[in-house]
Symmetry: C2
Subunit: 442 residues, 2 copies
């Protein structure tokens, strides 16, 4: 089918912004409907975000958790992909403006996801590493490895600063990354750097609340904290970060931790396009949606996934559904089905979240699974975690490659992707320390 | 061993510049000698350059042909690695200055390799893509994919220009890349872009001489040209490029080919450090060496691999050994052994190249092998090529991953790494065409 025939097509035009879990599953569902679909993303690949932290820990290749969007869409002849950044949405004119063109839509699905939130913490945005995009995962991996390379050549105080890694936020991502970092550092990096004394290394996990994994059962929080402690991760609870610079993080009690590495996984908010386009958003940038996932007053516009603020079952407490893949997948399918209902003129159905439980992995044979109050830890939880993540990874080759990477690491204790690549990200090796501090989060 | 004990060590200090084939094999050989060794490289990984073209054709992940240098050195307690760029070599003071420090050496092995040569062709350096480093491989992959994405949205003339890919140089790399590009384009990209008409695509291989693969037997040149023709690659012989811009390549006969993509694999010369340090070099930047691989007048300095201009067996013709991995490996071992001889005070041995033959792969089941005049083509040559490349790939995991990538591609006809990553390299999608042309080779 050529572009011309697609444009001549008079089926309703559905535009989906974002090829994350929500956007892809919505497209899949719309593939069987009498509509034509344009899926927009600024990357030509879908990112499997739940494993990004493993990229940042040199465990897997970034390519293994990316899959070309056009490859996913091949069996969906009514779905077209456009690689473009969306610059504006006009709900009145019913148009989406991109860096390529302006598109008119009959239905719009906003699935732009979330971005890191720094809560206005001074210096945090400029000097921390985030873990939301493939580039951020690779940059953090490169930075960790560069810190070790640089530590070989500097005096002791600076060396300890370079070898102190602070993870801010004790949610699943923070726990998973702190554990993965411990396995990387005390495993292969210890062997790679016989010049360095591992006593100079410190991995710190800061959490503002009274326990890590606050969204799970308390017994799992305790298990995670114990496991991290055994892995030499210093877990500090009830610590709020008040400032970040390129050389230190400051806590609310005035304590300072000298470090060149702050990994900020303390908060996420809705991606900015909706707000910038004048769509009403909550304080954290998420869009309020009706139970049908429609925007209030805009029956042809849906918001799904991380971007959508959808009340949780215990809505009385003011909670919204968590920003996880399962919510996005289920909402993507549901929004697509509601578009079908709207075309048929039948009432739209309210969305109900089927909670498949939450989980996090901490390290080798160590994970936690919380399934409707039933909890699993240790090897069994770790197996469940692995199987489910492989299941939702797109692309059979990626599944095999990731499983092979895991098996390799499991049996050899080696994280093999210890590459500073692209090498421009090691450029600060050549700089004077002052410059380094100014640019370390670039 | 800590840095301090290494520095207090009074064994002779061998500095090796470059962790390519020559440098790594020299280090391995020196691991058993009573010396201490510092290996310097500006990357923290060894690059398996013979497969770089497959990275640029989206066939394999870049990480699969990179291996951490420190991982290679683990079993060599007398070898230290320093990640640094070398800025100068002083043969009189016997020092090497890097971005980290200045090192004094007792023996020096120059193994800095080669860089692309443009022979002063106007615009070639600024507007062509090279294939010497991992970054260049990734950048070319991203560029090809971006050309296809962009072609969807432009008028026909610009579309044909975006879909014309010109490879300059019909040596092994040019032949291999043209073939790999054909398989990428007419395989998965044809399916990925149903909006595009493949008749708008053209892959052109330009060669200045009368045949491709000039270093091999004539029958193999003919086979390669025939194979490429069948794969829709337009092979143009006796064509010299006189100018390159961001939108066209001009030939010596005045013909112009409109294109945004010129892949320049027409020539390589010695890397610049030797020349910049005042070491005498030939016109193409290679260092003349004695039969022992020593520099004339500098008995403690050796040059090996692509950097060294070593007369070939048919030296009367003025030829030097080719810039291939086998020469570098054998010279690396030989230089290390000669350092051992020099310490013992015995005469140094002249280097003799054991030619293991040359080979190139063209595509699925199609390759050429030239082994001392015996030639092999087709499936057998293709198998030999594969086995030998896997053998010299460093790291068991990389071997498995590459074999798996090949097997996957072989059975599914899919090049899966069709990712534009980092996404900044697709930024020109957002630009006006004039800007694009100015920056397309960035």
């Amino acid at each position: 089918m050529t572009l011309e025939t697609i444009h001549a097509d008079n089926r309703p035009h559905v535009v989906i912004i974002g090829a994350g879990f929500g956007g892809i599953w919505a497209a899949k569902e719309l593939a069987d409907q009498p509509v034509r679909v344009t899926l927009l993303d600024k990357n030509n690949y879908h990112t499997f975000q739940p494993l990004l932290y493993q990229v940042a820990a040199a465990e897997i290749e970034p390519e293994q958790i990316g899959y070309p969007v056009r490859g996913i869409l091949r069996r969906m002849p009514n779905v077209t992909f456009t690689l473009a950044a969306v610059t504006a949405v006009d709900l009145t004119a019913q148009t989406v403006t991109t860096t390529q063109a302006t598109l008119a839509y009959d239905y719009l699905i906003l699935a732009t996801g979330s971005v890191t939130q720094f809560f206005g913490t001074p210096g945090a945005a400029a000097h921390s590493f985030s873990l939301k995009t493939m580039e951020e995962g690779v940059r953090l991996r490169n930075h960790i490895l560069t810190c070790f390379e640089r530590a070989v050549h500097v005096p002791p105080a600076e060396r300890r600063q370079l070898l102190t890694f602070v993870v801010v936020g004790g949610g699943p991502t923070g726990v998973e990354y702190a554990g993965a970092l411990s396995e990387l550092v005390y495993g292969p990096l210890r062997k790679d750097f016989p010049e360095l004394d591992m006593a100079d290394v410190s991995i710190v996990l800061l959490e503002a609340a009274g326990r890590v994994l606050g969204g799970m059962s308390e017994s799992l929080s305790a298990y995670a904290a114990r496991s991290l402690h055994k892995m030499k991760v210093v877990v500090q609870l009830e610590k709020r970060v008040t400032a970040v610079t390129g050389t230190a993080v400051t806590l609310h009690d005035g304590a300072q931790i000298p470090t060149n590495t702050v990994v900020w996984v303390a908060g996420v908010g809705g991606e900015g396009l909706a707000r910038e386009s004048g769509i009403e958003v909550l304080g954290n940038g998420r869009v309020s949606v009706l139970p049908t996932l429609q925007l209030p007053q805009h029956e042809r516009v849906f918001a799904i996934g991380d971007l959508a603020a959808f009340p949780a079952a215990d809505a009385a407490s003011g909670h919204f559904l968590p920003m996880v893949a399962q919510v996005a997948i289920q909402q993507g399918i549901h929004a697509a089905q509601n578009i079908g209902r709207h075309q048929l003129g039948v009432p739209l159905a309210p969305f109900h979240y089927w909670d498949k439980g939450s989980m996090a992995t901490i390290g080798r044979n160590k994970a936690v699974v919380d399934w409707h109050g039933r909890t699993f830890t240790g090897f069994l939880a770790w197996l469940i975690w692995g199987v489910i993540h492989i299941m939702y990874l797109i692309g059979f080759r990626n599944r095999i490659m990731v499983m092979l990477s895991w098996a390799w690491r499991y049996f050899t204790f080696e994280q093999t992707v210890r590459l500073i690549m692209p090498s421009s990200q090691a450029a600060w090796l050549a700089m004077a320390p002052e410059e380094v501090n100014e640019t370390s989060a670039d």
